[in-house]
Symmetry: C2
Subunit: 190 residues, 2 copies
């Protein structure tokens, strides 16, 4: 299978980077081809300009390539920290620009038609808020965001997410265990 | 009062622009001072760099000014379209960069302390999904996002949001009525 793996984190060496690199290796070990984008490292421009709004708009080579990759992928992996109950702007803008009408969804007579060929997604997120507080105070909005509003909307039904927390209070042993868990999740679900 | 009004929409002449301009005039007519940012028009850079993460990081003149404005404001107005159940990346990045620890919130022994001086916020959003579908399919995530995850977290208790939909199916008369509603909401709540 072809896996599209997207990372949105600002610091090389971060725990999110370790997750993404572990996932990439695990995908490859299982025989999959991985297309990998570290959006910060690539200097991805997240600002959707007005000229790109129309369905038939001419796209830059970069955005056209991202759209082709999304369409070609058999499965998707996303890695990012929780910033204000949402992805960092660079990753939000990747959605704004790449998840286009006509590419990932279409409107039909009965409503929205998800157009993603890939039917499986794994999302790894990190945060510092303890799990019970996250659920009680905010309701874990990232679950609804990725599962329902993004991937569900585009026709991806097999969805799995794992949030690791609290990063700031974790020990090296915990983080090593989480990295091993990433490896197992990828192996078991792909 | 000082009102900080932030717009995130890519096209001058849009309905979001009309909302923001109406709100600005209504704030001014009521005797308030308005600090207004059209983030697209200003070319705001939404990418939080690693060098800005630390609480004591040195900030660019632009970000330092945004932080001062947020701290000086007595109330906040936000206007944006619903893109993937969230603000456009440019506005998400304004939060990522300006809503800093030590500026808008702090961690105390009992948990988070909201530091915003302003205690009132109005958020206007626009979307194309009919209201009943939005609630049934997605649960209106923008309400939780702005009310609880952002403004509530920072200590703003007096929160009001109005979503206008469906923009794409609206008539000129409906839009004129909505603009009048924006004027009344600002007058009544500020």
């Amino acid at each position: 299978m072809k896996i599209l793996l997207i990372l949105g984190h600002q610091r090389p060496g971060s725990f999110c980077h370790a997750i993404a690199e572990t996932a990439r290796e695990a995908f490859r070990s299982a025989g999959h081809e991985v297309i990998y984008h570290d959006l910060y490292a690539e200097g991805f421009d997240p600002i959707l300009p007005n000229a790109e709004i129309a369905k038939e708009a001419e796209l830059s080579a970069t955005i056209a390539r991202h759209c082709r990759e999304v369409l070609d992928a058999d499965a998707y992996g996303i890695v990012h920290p929780n910033w204000w109950a949402a992805p960092p702007a660079i990753l939000k803008g990747w959605l704004d620009r790449v998840f286009r009408q006509g590419v990932v969804y279409e409107f039909g007579p009965q409503g929205v038609i998800g157009k993603l060929k890939g039917k499986r997604a794994i999302v790894f997120t990190t945060s510092n808020t303890p799990r019970a507080d996250e659920l009680r105070l905010f309701g874990d909005p990232l679950e609804n965001f990725w599962k329902t509003c993004v991937f569900g909307f585009c026709g991806v039904e097999d969805f799995y997410r794992r949030n690791f927390e609290s990063i700031i209070m974790s020990t090296p042993e915990q983080r090593a265990g989480w990295i091993e868990e990433v490896r197992q999740i990828v192996q078991q679900r792909m």
